[in-house]
Every structure is written in structure tokens, then in C-alpha cells.
């Protein structure tokens, strides 16, 4: 099923004819995408295909050139920045770590969109921070300096910061990059858990096999456009991977989960065959 066939009103987050670019170069060119509610959706694609740009445009961190992003049925431009941030959390690739900040204080900054001139820190904020720390399983780290933590712990703390926003939608831009395999799995398990608890999670991932294992819905991108979207078992094929990544491969079933597993072709055997 393509995006055009799906009824738009069902998805809380969708984009129509979305174009985004820097100066004259278009990074996204008139794409349509829907994020199915209550799923863990994963965006994959080669470097510089516009994955990160899509996530930023969906979160209104980047200005869009044309088309629109619909959040709960209304264009993003009709919301104030804080209204968007109360419905949709986004974690960029390389957030900045203030020197000397404690985990708890960092997570508390996720409460910004809920605060205002006459509504400063409240019990509700404290509760939201506690809940976020618990959901991301970083409660025991709350009094630690962020700079003391391992990469995996840090990433979970950043996710806790976004969770403190208490948004039904959470977008993560490459949350597993620079993590070793066990920390990648840890972060992905967290995403899965959050989705089961009712959050719609979207993540940009590089590891295809992990992406297809965890994703309910996969969005495959190539040079600023969307090539395929749907459940991984239905949309992933060797032809698709070859077309998108320019990589000869076989697809087998993941022995653990039955999801598609990409096996790149051995160049030595390929050379003999040709």
C-alpha cells in the first residue's frame, strides 16, 4: 500500500508534497509520508538521502519550502513552537551537553514547552521527570554528571529528556550511531517498550538488520524521495536494497525473528560469477 492510498486523517503525523532544501538544492522533493499511530517506524536509506532532514522537517526544526506537515490533522504552521513541542518530541543527532550538567537537570529541560511566564516549575513537572527517568531506566543515574556516563547511558538519558516532554510522538535521529551492538539493542529495546506503552516512535537507523527486526513500519528513502514504506517483511526485497543502496545482496530470514536479514554478496564469488 502506498502513502497515497492510505486515508490521511488516521495518522497523527503526516507530510504531503513536502519539499525542503538549503538555498537552491532540494534535499526532499515533494514527498508524501505517514507515520502510522502507535507503531515503531524506522527510516532507512543511504547517507545524505534526506532521512535526517525529513525528521527535522516533521518536527518543525527545519523550515519547509513547500507542501505541508500535518500534526493531528492541522498544518504545523498553525501551531506555536511550544504547542508542537507538547505533542511531538525530537532528539537530534548530536545534542549539546552543557559542561557540568546533572542527569536530572538535563531531563528537567524537557519540561520547557510546558512552562511559561506564570507557570514555572510545578509538581507536575517533577512527576513528569520521575516518570521519564523510570521509563528510560535511568533513575539510578539521576545524580550523576552526564559526562561521566557511557554512550549507551547518555543516549537513554537524552531519550528521557525527550520523554519528559510527555508527547504522544517521539522522533529520534540516529539514536544508535556510535554505540556498540549491545548498547544499540538496549536503545532499540527502549524504543520498542515506549511504543508498547503507547508512544508513536520514529527513528532514523543505519543498521538495516536491526531496523527490520524492530520496525513495525519501515520508510525507505533514496536521494530525497521515498522508495517504499510498509511492514519490513512486506516491502523489503533484494531488488529494493540493491536499488536503494547500490549493493548486491541476498535477503534471508532472521533466525531469531523471521524478519528480513540483509546479507551483502561476497565480492570474490561475485567476480567469479560475472
Amino acid at each position: 500500500m502506498t502513502a497515497a492510498e492510505m486515508p490521511t486523517h488516521q495518522a497523527r503525523l503526516a507530510a504531503r508534497r513536502l519539499s525542503v532544501g538549503y538555498d537552491s538544492r532540494k534535499v526532499l522533493d515533494g514527498i508524501a509520508v505517514e507515520i502510522p499511530n502507535n507503531t515503531f517506524s524506522v527510516i532507512v536509506g543511504p547517507n545524505a538521502c534526506g532521512k535526517s532532514t525529513l525528521v527535522k522537517a516533521l518536527a518543525r526544526v527545519l523550515r519547509i519550502q513547500s507542501g505541508e506537515v500535518l500534526l493531528d490533522g492541522s498544518p504545523l504552521s498553525q501551531y506555536t513552537p511550544k504547542e508542537v513541542a507538547r505533542r511531538l518530541g525530537m532528539l537530534p543527532q548530536a545534542p549539546h551537553v552543557p559542561d557540568g550538567i546533572l542527569v536530572e537537570d538535563l531531563v528537567a529541560r524537557g519540561r520547557y514547552p510546558h512552562q511559561g511566564l506564570f507557570r514555572q516549575w510545578s509538581q507536575e513537572d517533577a512527576d513528569a521527570v520521575d516518570t521519564a527517568l523510570r521509563r528510560a531506566r535511568v533513575e539510578q543515574l539521576r545524580d550523576r554528571l552526564l559526562t561521566e556516563l557511557s554512550g549507551g547511558q547518555r543516549q537513554r538519558v537524552w531519550i528521557a529528556m525527550a520523554l519528559a516532554q510527555m508527547t504522544p510522538l517521539l522522533l529520534l535521529d540516529e539514536p544508535t550511531t556510535f554505540l556498540d551492538i549491545s548498547h544499540q539493542v538496549e536503545v532499540l529495546n527502549l524504543c520498542r517498550r515506549l511504543q508498547r506503552e503507547g508512544t508513536t516512535v520514529v527513528a532514523v537507523l543505519h543498521d538495516l538488520n536491526l531496523a527490520f527486526r524492530y520496525a513495525d513500519h519501515v520508510i525507505v528513502m533514496r536521494s530525497g524521495g521515498i522508495v517504499a514504506q510498509g511492514p519490513p517483511r512486506e516491502v523489503i526485497s533484494a531488488e529494493l536494497i540493491e536499488k536503494v543502496f547500490d549493493l548486491s545482496c541476498r535477503i534471508i530470514e532472521d533466525p531469531e525473528t523471521g524478519t528480513p536479514l540483509v546479507i551483502p554478496q561476497n565480492p570474490d564469488t561475485a567476480a567469479k560469477g560475472s
Partner: protein, 332 residues
């Protein structure tokens, strides 16, 4: 870091500032018994000693409080905005801009009145702030901390050279200016404090209101935007606040080094990188540092005086070196 610890820091800083205010009123080149000093404050007398206290020491103390708070809070805003712990209004060219505007104003008009310079100092501070920001932003419109610092150093060097050139060619006319540029609190009457205070008050209010947005923006431009911060508006208002604070502070007493660098650094070390706490702490510690420098300047070579700006630079330079050497300078 619990709230109790942070409140304790604020209370300690307040006590220190009040103590230094008392010292500033009690100590001077003319020795007056402490009990008499406080007597003059309560029951004004028509004596020379009473005049020293009420017309010299009290205004001097007040201006130290106003300017110290302004410079420290301005430094805190700059450091937070640029995510650079070494940023201060001096390094970012704002003081040099104010100085150049004042020199030009005096050179062209020959008017040596502090009320008159104030407006030029503002103009110069604002122009330098905008210039550094644009130069540091480049075509991509993202001002990286390193580029801002480089732009600030470059603009400061250029503006300072211009100031020196004008001063050297107009030595007679610039006695007043050269005194101003050393950063002295002496002989600044209440009317100067009165003129600077509204701008400083507006800047301080803005600084407090901007604290939550700057906290969110400290996590990076994109994280800030994702949290709902209006990035451009926050930046513009922060520059406005810095210009108000530095413009007024510098116009009133001349450029004072290191208050804007050292105080926010100490405040962050005490209460952590949280503008909601470090701005109020700067507001209390800034006056303390400037008062301490001013009182020390009156004592070290009494009956001569060393200007407060010279003392802060003398004490500040080693502090600066200590900061650079002892801490791995990570971004804010």
C-alpha cells in the same frame, strides 16, 4: 544539586555583597570612624566628613552594585548564548565598541559629559554586538562558539587600535576619556547611577525571563527548537539584554575587565549550568567582585587610588589563566 544548596549559595552571595557594601561605605582614603560613618547615614550633618560619606562613598557603592550586576549578568548571557565558557562582553568586542563610540563622540563634539556618552556607548556596544554576531555567523547563519570568539577577538583588536589612534592624536582633549577607560568608580555621582539603572534593570529583567529558553537552547540549536524555543527571537532578545547591560555599565564607569568572565564562571561552578540559578547568583556576585576590587584599590597604595578596572584586570588575568589550565574547557 538540590534546591537547598542553590538557595544557600544565593544567601551566601547576598551576605557577601551586603558586607562589601558596608566596607565600601566605611573604608576610604580619609579615615573616618566606622560609628561616625553610620551616624552620617542616619543623621546627615553639614561636615566635610559627612559629605565624603553621603556624596562620595554612597554613590560610589551604588554604582559598583549596579555596574557589577550588569557586567556579570551580561557575561552569563553571552556565555550561555555562545555556549562558550570564555565568552564575555570584553572578548566579544562589546566594550571596545562602546569605547570607540565614546571616543568618537568626545573627539567630534568635545562634550565631556557622562550623560552624553551613555547614548554613544549604547550605540557602539550594539553595533559591535551585531557586527561580531554577523561576522561569527557567516553565510550559513549559524554562529558557532569558536567563530564568535574569533570574530570578537578580531573586532576588539581593530576597534581598540582605532581608539588608541584617536587618543594618541588628541591627548589633551582625552584626559577625561583616559580616566573613563581605566574603569574608575571614583567621582561618579548619583545622577550617573540613576541614568544607568533603568537600562540595567530592563536588561536584568530580560535576563531572568530568558533563562528557561537559554537553558533549552544550551542543548543545541536543534534540540532547543524541538523543545519549542523560538531560536531567533531568543538570540535577538539576549543580544538586546547584553547590549543594555554592557552599554549602560560601560558608559557609566568605562570598560571593566573580567567581571563578565569570572563571575559567571564562579556562579556556574557553584550552582551548575542552569541560567535560572546562575543569573540570580551573578546578579549578587557581580557587585561583590566589583566592590571588592574598588575597596582594594582604595587601600593598596593609600592615599593614592588604583582604579577598580585595573584591580579586576590584575586579579582577573590570573583567574582566567587558572580557568584555562585547570579545567578542560568543554562547551557550556
Amino acid at each position: 544539586m538540590t534546591t537547598a544548596v542553590r538557595v544557600a549559595w544565593l544567601a551566601a552571595a547576598l551576605s557577601l555583597t551586603l558586607l562589601l557594601c558596608a566596607l565600601s561605605i566605611s573604608i576610604g582614603s580619609r579615615s573616618i570612624a566606622v560609628l561616625d560613618v553610620w551616624g552620617f547615614l542616619l543623621r546627615p550633618e553639614e561636615t566635610a566628613e559627612a559629605a565624603v560619606v553621603t556624596q562620595l562613598r554612597v554613590p560610589r557603592t551604588l554604582i559598583a552594585v549596579v555596574v557589577g550586576a550588569a557586567l556579570a549578568v551580561a557575561g552569563s548571557l553571552m556565555q550561555s548564548l555562545t555556549r562558550n565558557p570564555l565568552a564575555d562582553p570584553g572578548i566579544l568586542g562589546i566594550n571596545a565598541g562602546a569605547s570607540l563610540a565614546v571616543v568618537i563622540a568626545v573627539a567630534v563634539t568635545g562634550i565631556a559629559s557622562i550623560m552624553f556618552y551613555m547614548w554613544f556607548a549604547f550605540l557602539g556596544a550594539a553595533a559591535a554586538a551585531v557586527g561580531v554576531y554577523l561576522l561569527g555567523s557567516g553565510r550559513r547563519r549559524t554562529a558557532t562558539p569558536a567563530r564568535l570568539a574569533l570574530a570578537g577577538v578580531a573586532i576588539t583588536a581593530a576597534l581598540t587600535a582605532l581608539v588608541q589612534t584617536i587618543i594618541l592624536t588628541n591627548q589633551e582633549a582625552f584626559n577625561e576619556f583616559r580616566f573613563w577607560t581605566a574603569g574608575s568608580l571614583e567621582g561618579r555621582g548619583l545622577e550617573i547611577t540613576g541614568a544607568a539603572a533603568p537600562f540595567v534593570a530592563a536588561g536584568l529583567l530580560l535576563a531572568l525571563l530568558l533563562a528557561p529558553a537559554l537553558n533549552a537552547l544550551a542543548l543545541g540549536e536543534q534540540t532547543g527548537a524541538a523543545l519549542g524555543v523560538r531560536v531567533r527571537r531568543t538570540r535577538a532578545l539576549t543580544f538586546l539584554a547584553v547590549t543594555l547591560l554592557c552599554g549602560a555599565g560601560t558608559a557609566a564607569v568605562g570598560p571593566i575587565a573580567f567581571v563578565g568572565l569570572g563571575v559567571p564562571f564562579l556562579a556556574r561552578a557553584a550552582v551548575g549550568p542552569d541560567q535560572r540559578w546562575s543569573v540570580p547568583l551573578c546578579l549578587l556576585l557581580g557587585p561583590a567582585m566589583l566592590l571588592a576590587a574598588d575597596v582594594a584599590g582604595r587601600v593598596v597604595i593609600a592615599p593614592q587610588e588604583v582604579q577598580a578596572g585595573i584591580i579586576t584586570a590584575l586579579v582577573g588575568a590570573p583567574l582566567f589563566i587558572t580557568i584555562v589550565r585547570r579545567r578542560r574547557i568543554e562547551a557550556l
